[in-house]
Symmetry: D2
Subunit: 369 residues, 4 copies
Amino acid sequence: MPLVAVIPNPNAAVEMREIVSPTLELNSALLEVELSEVCGTDVYLQQGRLEGVPYPLIPGHVSVGHLRKIRGEMLDVDGRTFKEGDRVTFLDVHRTCNACWYCLVARASTRCPHRKVYGITYGLADGLCGGWSQEIYLKPGTRCIRLDATPEQFMAGGCALPTALHAVERAEVKIGDVVLVLGSGPVGINAIIMAWMSGASRVLCIGAPQARLDSALKAGAAAVLNIETTDEQQRLSWVLEQTSGRGADVTIEATGAPVAVAQAMRFTRDAGRVVIVGQYTDHGPMPESAAFNPHLDLNKKHLDVRGCWGSDFSHFYRAAQIVSEPARSGPWSTMQLARYDLSQANEALEDVAAGRVLKALIDPRGVAA
Amino acid sequence: MPLVAVIPNPNAAVEMREIVSPTLELNSALLEVELSEVCGTDVYLQQGRLEGVPYPLIPGHVSVGHLRKIRGEMLDVDGRTFKEGDRVTFLDVHRTCNACWYCLVARASTRCPHRKVYGITYGLADGLCGGWSQEIYLKPGTRCIRLDATPEQFMAGGCALPTALHAVERAEVKIGDVVLVLGSGPVGINAIIMAWMSGASRVLCIGAPQARLDSALKAGAAAVLNIETTDEQQRLSWVLEQTSGRGADVTIEATGAPVAVAQAMRFTRDAGRVVIVGQYTDHGPMPESAAFNPHLDLNKKHLDVRGCWGSDFSHFYRAAQIVSEPARSGPWSTMQLARYDLSQANEALEDVAAGRVLKALIDPRGVAA
Amino acid sequence: MPLVAVIPNPNAAVEMREIVSPTLELNSALLEVELSEVCGTDVYLQQGRLEGVPYPLIPGHVSVGHLRKIRGEMLDVDGRTFKEGDRVTFLDVHRTCNACWYCLVARASTRCPHRKVYGITYGLADGLCGGWSQEIYLKPGTRCIRLDATPEQFMAGGCALPTALHAVERAEVKIGDVVLVLGSGPVGINAIIMAWMSGASRVLCIGAPQARLDSALKAGAAAVLNIETTDEQQRLSWVLEQTSGRGADVTIEATGAPVAVAQAMRFTRDAGRVVIVGQYTDHGPMPESAAFNPHLDLNKKHLDVRGCWGSDFSHFYRAAQIVSEPARSGPWSTMQLARYDLSQANEALEDVAAGRVLKALIDPRGVAA
Amino acid sequence: MPLVAVIPNPNAAVEMREIVSPTLELNSALLEVELSEVCGTDVYLQQGRLEGVPYPLIPGHVSVGHLRKIRGEMLDVDGRTFKEGDRVTFLDVHRTCNACWYCLVARASTRCPHRKVYGITYGLADGLCGGWSQEIYLKPGTRCIRLDATPEQFMAGGCALPTALHAVERAEVKIGDVVLVLGSGPVGINAIIMAWMSGASRVLCIGAPQARLDSALKAGAAAVLNIETTDEQQRLSWVLEQTSGRGADVTIEATGAPVAVAQAMRFTRDAGRVVIVGQYTDHGPMPESAAFNPHLDLNKKHLDVRGCWGSDFSHFYRAAQIVSEPARSGPWSTMQLARYDLSQANEALEDVAAGRVLKALIDPRGVAA
């Protein structure tokens, strides 16, 4: 019986449990987990800040492991069959309906109301549907991706990488652009990597704390600024100095703080692009102190402001390809990872919430029941 | 000596003056004005709400007339020479530098800091550089457009038409989209026409007063709602009813009210597009009551919000082409025009400011000095 | 037992048969056909010019009718259930896999190798899977669209409309563009309507015979040219005359003739767009007489040439919406339709092949077995 | 009196001459040349294969040097004045009219019929208007770019870099794409660098001779194939092997051979993008052996084929920025350069024509008259 870590209720501590391994349906599989992830969303889950979550649940949406048992046939997108023992990962959003107006007419599947997400929309009652577990049940229809990268390399990107890839793709970075990233958490760091990979001449980052800014520099940022020691005016001056007085061509907001949205607009040059990817939870409306001026900050600037929600299979697949390509994987190889076993999940959540670690991983191997 | 109408100072009444007709430079011309325009920008000019305006000035940025005198050669974009007597119009922004970073690198000429605009950036000291005049001096380099439409047809669109064309182009309307236009002034009405012409299955309009909403219906709106008799919640309900509960595919904000910006976002479906084209003057930041929520209104909605500033020669040229095409000109033929002579400019400004007329035109002919 | 019309083998005459009505699977339905279609693809099917077709088969890919029997639940894209008696249509490509690289990574579902198409990829052995029949079996997962238009109005567009909508969408028509359509068959005529609906200032058409060019004019073309009485040079001259000597901004090729591809490029202005949507069958390589010059026809012209294959649910859905919108349906209301009963299918094929009719419809009602 | 190298007539050998240094107009300057370039276009110029060239002329369109004398004011795009001694470069297409339909309405300035190009559209009678010279006369309005890179670094990119940047920009490379470059001359090599910089997971190159393929590998290609030892079928097989059997996501044709155009289409996956940038001279129509099949190669493939002509200030400016950025300049630092003095221009042309050198530079310093 596999061991799992469970959030029993909002604001309750994570507990370990044993649950029965499922009987496999046709064309499903069981994944033996090597690494799963603790990200900001998991902190929100534990704090009860996401709507419609069926507690108790097993968190862990992006994971890597070996296919331990397959019943029937599991295929990759090229139609090749997987065999037991293969190392794979899979998109946590394993099912969109391909039948609703958002999927079929708007072609905006990240807004499909019927999305099914491992580690978020499934409860413990649904079985092994989260990555903080020794095993995950890969339901029929789940499209696995064969992984050539090491588990560590891939998880260094983790769920932040496809999110950042989506955001940077939406930013339409042009060769030679100066890209400003607000925020130095996992999405911010991966956005730096993606912006550089898209042809930016320089990537700037404003964030905190200093340890994360050091990671930003290692990830390829040309210059960084600490938000803890500067006010908005100083940040604006710094950005203008770095950009011939014009502001960034592209700004990627990846902070989680509502005030950052108006700042992102002000830090961007006229006719530039702003992608908002850091507002994943409702922190209420923008505070009056950040009050944004539709004339000065948007209309007269002829600005493009683009919200960016989730990621789809395409982003995830390309993220896995890029990380697996030796000539591309450098930035993730050097990223600092903090490893926790299943029994240390509460500690991991605390470290992530406090920003003490950049990337926390759950390694469920070698824990006896 | 041609008669002109002049705003002497911010908040001062318009006065009539006579000024000396200029000596033409090489490749310049004198335009005998048939019709010029009184738009919202002129109201702002009179109220001193635009920065850097060299008072006293002759207002009137978009105008139509006959080439009365040409010195040297005036060419159209196809390289054909104009001759005296030709009926033409011209883009008020007659000069962008084609030499700065915004013109050459960003290709965002509407943000060129060296734009020269008839009726706005020129003062009386610069001569006949506004349309509220019997004559306009067309400086060398001004690209005229031969006009096949009647002056009334073209001026029914006036400066609002290229602005609306630009906004709707930026909205990337797809065939079958439901487009919502906020505002029923000249830009709003022209946005309705442009959205319909771009393939919308239905165009909705929220505005006021009723007379303008009637114009909206005549211009092609499928349904209208009066902002004076509804609150934000009622408007949202109405939009959802009209759109299978999803919101508009595209919303064009053309109101002038900061509160409309957040509403535009809320009235739009997830993954839709919002164009902000109505915030042409600084009314201060968005009020707290309208405070927008970065998570709910932007990021989670995966929304595109696009500021839209000014228009360039391409928009103006295509506007003139469309209005001149008999099979296309219908909507402008029926638009109600209010005509004023030069001595009635103050009355025209008041009527526009009060929303009593949809489109006010200055007709400087037949006024004796 | 419903009557069907069957192509037994390539180049064999269509025969009528009776086949057993199926037992419905869960969430499937039986459609009582009002009208189905005879299009160019059916001619090719009868001539054996499409690969991988499982003869014998029931042709008829786009159809309209009433839901006669539903087992379980049939939903539309808004999640509303259909009831028996509802008038509906459905995309013939009722299934793409949503699991392969083309569906998931390239997001190019019209190139999904697992597409299932009513009237084309199904054989008689698969049951009632074509529209030349009194009944069609709507398999589980088929997304029906409720139809507010009359069957005649919708079928006037038929399969040509979503194809044309896709082509014109890919052409990115801008307000004021001059659009040239090559070909005056159903796709060409619908491309004229779509191009006009997308904001073209004028739509030109080169085609034949004269009867179809008359339809082109009725559909909104501003000017037409008969291909039977002109050579390439004369056509080019005509296009240049109509376009200030530059060529069309956009050309939609919808002819079926390989030589038209190079002509489409030459008839288009520099930096314009060409969409190739008429090359649906292999007529061999471009003949030497049409030999295209990569320097003059493509590279120096800075041209965009875009192949356009098939259409997806989005195109089909929006086509149905547009046709159902009273203010939009005009062009299809006046289109000339030729109606045939099931026993006249061979005659219909001949008339279509000979270009004697613009749009041929099979009406399977009122034919006794 | 500065020394210049002149092509007196088509097919005549280059000759050295001395010409009088010009009297500077207001806001013009004299550039002391450090390096100029010998590219494929110069070979065509010498062979008389370009139309409308005013022989005799001084070739050399892209050059680097010091501002030796300034009369009046020379400004960069940020409005900063240059001073004598500054190292600069400038776009050879120093003037587009900003007044014609292509410049103003189509916004396609590379198709402006009034382009003025140093080293191509100017004859000897126009003075020092080519780079194979000790001095170049920078006419009023020429926008110089301050150069932080070394002359060698910048000229390693030379005119091929902005061309390649334009081509790759038009290809819309997405992160993770496999990009295939056809051709391993200067444009091909720079396209490899640009494609990699745009996020390709792997860049492939098919070209010749081996020395250039070695340069391709050094520039970042993951794999190369020699065109001299393979036929079309073998090349196709190789591409399919490298791309999971699908073909490249993006192909950049930079060969100069008409047959490569159809091959580029066949080597690309369905729904992919092809940019044609190598057909700069008229080699006549595509030969019958290469005859392309509109159904198989374009329409059914749902392919985008994009001609790409010239480059504008934006491409040139961003090229200069990228080369000057230390973290980006690596690929150009290692590129092999062949240096010739003014008297060796004929030898340089021969070496370029024969493909014996990748990049040939004229260094006019240190040659006594």
